[in-house]
């Protein structure tokens, strides 16, 4: 009897051991979050997974930006050597899903209730053909103004509510001898600002039609022309050296008080935090004038690849941890973005973060949450880059009038479609 029991236990434990050995307790992750704040934010996730016994392995990528990572990913996937997950943006997820290399997380999604908590606009990119293929990590929104409060007080400015208010505020700054608008003259920064200008000029309906549906009539409408004119007006307020400047240097100009305001996504907040500035006392965050109530977003996602069965458990653990409320809160507090699910409490966030969370919820409920075209969430990369070309050529003078800009925009987008 005792012997039987012993054998039984031995067998059972042996089986359990065998079952355990089958699963690879490791998460292979390709990402380009290497800068200080981003790396710190990611460490939260590493810690969460370590608690569940999963080791974290970065897939090394030479070179900083996302381009190098995407090139590396393409090579890995072509070689059939899938990482557990990869940081991905917008249409890239759908491209890979269409190529049939993404996994299926639908079961986990059902269990965790992602369908209800993740905004529908994001699900357009994380769900392909009815299957969950990616776990959204955060929601960034791009229609923000970042203002140096000391400069604002000095020139006696108040929150601009309309585009004309904004121009008046910039005039005040100019009169006081500060650079009114900090802009980096790289095409994505110019286009990111133009996203906000279009939303402000044409309103939510127009933005959606033009930049999400790519409707020809809207793209060549007078409203679009007016938007280009407004952009031209804003560009008169930048310093002569803006061309080619990196976004974080433009943010630094605002932090130091050399410039009054920057139009940039909420990742700029990370720079303010790194410089030990607090919202409300050192800097102010307002929605781009005339866009309150709408949110132009982009989102970082962890694309989940179709890994062999022995690595699936680690993948599910990663996805679950990524969308857990505690991680969503902890990560986004550090990163400057807002959680990718709308049911995360905002207690740990600063004033700007709280506003961001409330705005996202309102925009999601009201149907005014739109993908940013400049950030690759409005249209596929070919179209998005054609758009950036036109905006940048307009800002730098290769395209001279708004009439010409509109014609070029329609032509470039049609050509890239």
């Amino acid at each position: 009897m005792l012997r039987k029991l012993l054998i039984g236990t031995a067998l059972a434990s042996g089986l359990a051991f065998a079952a355990h050995a089958e699963d690879v307790k490791e998460v292979q992750m390709l990402h380009w979050w290497t800068s200080g704040g981003e790396a710190a934010a990611l460490n939260v996730l590493k810690g969460d997974l370590a608690k569940e016994g999963y080791a974290w392995k970065d897939v090394p990528v030479a070179g900083g930006g996302g381009d190098a990572a995407m090139t590396a990913l393409k090579a890995m996937v072509a070689a059939g050597n899938y990482p557990t997950a990869s940081q991905m943006l917008g249409y890239t997820v759908l491209d890979y899903a269409a190529a049939g290399v993404m996994g299926d997380l639908t079961e986990t999604a059902k269990k965790e209730g992602w369908d209800k908590s993740v905004p529908a606009a994001l699900q357009k990119f994380s769900v392909y053909d009815g299957k969950w293929v990616a776990a959204p990590v955060n929601v960034h929104s791009v229609n923000w103004l970042w203002i140096n409060k000391a400069v604002m007080d000095k020139i006696g400015g108040t929150e601009p509510k309309t585009f004309d208010d904004f121009v008046a505020l910039l005039d005040k700054a100019k009169a006081a001898g500060v650079i009114p608008l900090a802009l980096g003259g790289q095409n994505w920064q110019e286009a990111t600002m133009f996203d906000s200008v279009v939303l402000s000029t044409g309103g939510p309906e127009f933005y959606k039609k033009a930049f999400n549906d790519l409707d020809d009539a809207s793209l060549k409408s007078d409203t679009m022309k007016k938007s280009f004119d407004n952009l031209a007006k804003l560009v008169t307020y930048v310093d002569p050296n803006f061309s080619g400047r990196d976004w974080n240097l433009a943010t630094a100009m605002v932090i130091k008080g050399d410039a009054l305001v920057q139009v940039m996504g909420d990742w700029a907040k990370g720079e303010f935090h790194a410089a030990k500035k607090t919202p409300g006392t050192d800097f102010l965050c307002y929605r781009f004038p005339g866009t309150d109530g709408s949110v132009i977003y982009n989102s970082d996602m962890f694309g989940m690849f179709n890994v062999p069965d022995d690595r699936k458990a680690a993948q599910v653990a990663l996805a679950t941890a990524t969308l857990s409320k505690s991680f969503q809160s902890a990560f986004n507090v550090v990163k400057g973005s807002v959680p990718a699910r709308t049911d995360v409490p905002d207690t740990d966030f600063d004033a700007c973060g709280k506003k961001g969370i409330a705005d996202l919820k309102a925009a999601n409920d009201g149907g005014t949450l739109f993908g940013s075209l400049a950030q690759g969430y409005g249209a596929p990369p070919a179209v998005a880059n054609a758009y950036k070309d036109v905006v940048s050529k307009f800002v730098h003078g290769q395209i001279k009038t708004s009439d010409e800009a509109v014609t070029e925009l329609v032509k470039a987008i049609d050509d890239a479609k």
Partner: protein, 318 residues
């Protein structure tokens, strides 16, 4: 016993002959065996992928390669962009920049390299110190050169700012921020990097010229200018060929210099075809267009280099 001995005697030469011939055959084949791996690698990774790129340019490949031939739409689009001058299309900007950059870079490097080499060849003191100073920029990567010149040419940081601080406030040099002049800053940085190397090539050539010829010319009353114009420079012809080929391939593959120095320039005005190719293939997911532009780059190089090589390397009737 004796039978065994004879059979052994018989066997030995039969065994020996193939052994010797295996060894000699092996010796004959050794160079081929040693070269085979690199030959195979070149065949596959250079010529194989050239063919693959040509093939891809006729497909509708987007993010990933697709193997269904769909015709020459990629070439038609490039051809259309070639004549899109107002506003300039990215492709038009790239190829005109290639023309400007390629011509100025090669020409100035050759001229400056030759000039410096002639100066250094005047048996001056301290040549051993000067030569490496001119040569060292070549040891830097294009990224380092690009970033250093980016800071130096930036009106808010470098030359202009410094001269303003020194009191010359009317000084104005913002080419790097100007869409019409940014390509010339790429030329400046490129020339700075390569001209020292070209100088070293010419210097080696000058040292190889027979001193007797020079003396003979001087005795015949040739002026220094005539000496160089009629004798030295013609004798340096093979060096011109080598320098031209080195510079031409550096010019055509320039990519990192543009990225590091200008990050594409205002409104993409500093692009070269290699930037165009990378941008379309990897960022815009238009692999077919990217491949087509790569094929056109290759054709351009062949069109320039092959006739030049042919004219320089064919047997000259003497």
């Amino acid at each position: 016993m004796s039978t065994v001995a004879t059979s052994q005697i018989k066997l030995t030469p039969e065994q020996a002959r193939p052994r010797a011939s295996v060894r000699s055959r092996l010796q004959d084949a050794l160079p081929k065996i040693v070269l085979a791996p690199s030959f195979a690698i070149t065949i596959v990774f250079v010529y194989g992928f050239i063919l693959w790129t040509i093939y891809l340019s006729f497909t509708n490949s987007k993010t990933f390669p697709s193997y269904v031939i769909t015709g020459s739409r990629a070439y038609q689009r490039l051809w259309g962009w070639t004549f899109d001058t107002d506003p300039p299309s990215s492709w038009y900007t790239s190829i005109t920049n290639m023309g400007i950059f390629g011509f100025l870079y090669i020409f100035i490097c050759l001229a400056l390299g030759l000039f410096l080499a002639i100066l250094l060849d005047q048996k001056i003191r301290g040549e051993g110190v000067l030569r490496p100073i001119y040569l060292y920029p070549m040891a830097l990567s294009f990224i380092v050169t690009g970033v250093a010149w980016k800071w130096f040419l930036d009106p808010g940081l470098g030359l202009e700012q410094t001269l303003h601080q020194w009191g010359w406030t009317s000084f104005h040099f913002d080419w790097i921020k100007n869409k019409d002049f940014v390509i010339y800053t790429v030329v400046i940085a490129g020339v700075w990097q390569a001209s020292g190397f070209i100088m070293a090539m010419f210097l080696a050539g000058l040292r190889g010229i027979d001193g007797e010829i020079m003396k003979a010319a001087q005795i015949d009353g040739a002026t220094t200018f005539q000496l160089y114009r009629r004798i030295v420079i013609p004798l340096l012809r093979p060096i011109f060929l080598s320098a031209f080929i080195v510079l031409a391939h550096l010019a055509i593959k320039s990519y990192d210099l543009v990225v590091a120095l200008t990050s594409g320039g205002p409104g993409g005005s500093a692009w070269l075809p290699s930037n165009f190719m990378y941008e379309y293939t990897f960022k815009r997911n238009e692999m077919a267009v990217g491949s087509a532009s790569a094929v056109i780059m290759l054709m351009t190089i062949i069109a320039i280099i092959v006739p030049y090589l042919y004219s320089e390397l064919r047997e000259k009737p003497r």
